[in-house]
Amino acid sequence: MNASAGRQGTTTSGPTAKQRYSIFALAKNALSYHEGWQQAWRSPEPKKAYDVIIVGGGGHGLTTAYYLAKLHGVRNVAVLEKGWIGGGNTGRNTTIIRSGYLWDESIKLYDHALKLWEGMSQELNFNVMFSQRGVINLAHSEHEWREMRRRYEAIRLNGVDIELVLPDDIKKLVPIISIDPDIRYPVKGGILQQRGGTARHDAVAWGYARAADELGVDIIQNCEVTGFERAPEGQIIGVQTTRGFIAANKVGCVPAGHSGVLAEMAGFMLPIQARPLQALVSEPIKPVIDKVVMSNAVHMYISQSDKGELVLGAGTDAYNSYAQRGSPNHPEHLMAATVELYPITSRLRMLRQWGGIVDTCPDASPIISKTPVPGLYFNCGWGTGGFKATPGSGHVFADLIAHDRPNALAAPYSLDRFRTGYLVDEHGAAGVAH
């Protein structure tokens, strides 16, 4: 830079111990105009070979690499990202975290993730701003209220924190909500998970990238996988990429919306459809809502970011698309439902609207599984539940890759459940499985 004498972040080869982040580090670095900070991760040139290659540099891919290095001592790992890390669904979701699902298998997996969220900033020394502000699922009809009682009991007896809340409690927790019994879909009650909340999605990708890099993981961006190479007897031996062939004994694919594309490259098919999921934020305003509130009956959920933007999300569009955008009738319905339930939002203004590519399974549950190709593992199909599962997904997938067999948490999510009929159907339980 012509005027600045700042030291450029150079690409060092080996991993270097990271500076500790803290208020004291900030103060110290302020004295030297913050020109002393190191790179959060190195972005090195790809080596010829690794023990394990992770395909997909989103939250799930980065946590998998981190746990491989930290828990299983597998450090000769590369994370290959076709664009920029955290650029897929990790950077496009509405940052909701909870574990209040219906089926035992789901509750155990998502609560495993929630426990990992609880110590994340400290473990990574990177503030991911995980706030356990509480998540409320609302029921808007007698049928939904009965259905919610089933979910409440299942969560409670799985040892996970959950409370039944009635309209008056809900009004105290969420002052801007309407509990008018005469609106079209009145609030009948809900369940509150206080341990649920939100986090800063970008920070999760950066925090894990930094921590994984410190353990020796190579994070390689702008490196798209274009094919899989296999030994004569079928074992995976590496991947073709836009930056040349890279060898590996094991390859773990965590490509979310692009799962179908990669599976087809590897010669098998998945029960996955890539669907647009749209969301939007309002302009930043002073705090009006502290909780995350979800309404399946009217397909809308709401929370407020630390910057003051109301974050609104809805269900997926119903057609396949990789365009990261959907049809305007969904946001239209979302905003009508928002005005209906939160009347003060009518005069606020939408600031930004976008879409992600959500990999949905027929039973709205993920696939964490070996595949017909030895040494090739897939972790995908998270649908609308990906962000909240991030650390748990990486943790169990690292375990699967390291030991070439799923642990107890991942076992129900094998690919062959669609052959045997053992479905963990979260659809039945929620109009929109969030």
Partner: protein, 100 residues
């Protein structure tokens, strides 16, 4: 809002339609002879192509007929729509015309 060309009613907003995923997936003639894997393939395994894709749509709010469309799932360009029973057009040839 994509314009989906119903072979009968003509182009209409995609909100008027129901989506049926990959086209030309035929229900096995004798299900009893299918292995579990073959039945799994019929039930669940669908192509999820990024790019030109033969897929099914039903004109829910219009003439209520099912039909097929060749649509690029990334660019949302639409190359053709045709009635059930008609053969799948040659996608490569269809999309090549674009560059000619």
């Amino acid at each position: 809002m994509q314009l989906i060309p119903c072979p009968w009613c003509g182009p209409r907003d995609d909100a008027e339609f129901h989506y049926g995923a990959e086209a030309h997936v035929v229900r096995p003639a004798v299900p009893a002879d299918c292995s579990d894997a073959e039945w799994e393939a019929y039930l669940y395994l669908r192509r999820n192509t990024k790019g030109p894709f033969a897929e099914r749509w039903m004109h829910t709010n219009g003439c209520r007929r099912w039909f097929n469309v060749i649509r690029d799932t990334y660019t949302h360009e639409i190359f053709a729509s045709y009635k059930p029973g008609e053969p799948m057009p040659d996608i490569a040839q269809l999309t090549a015309k674009k560059d000619a």
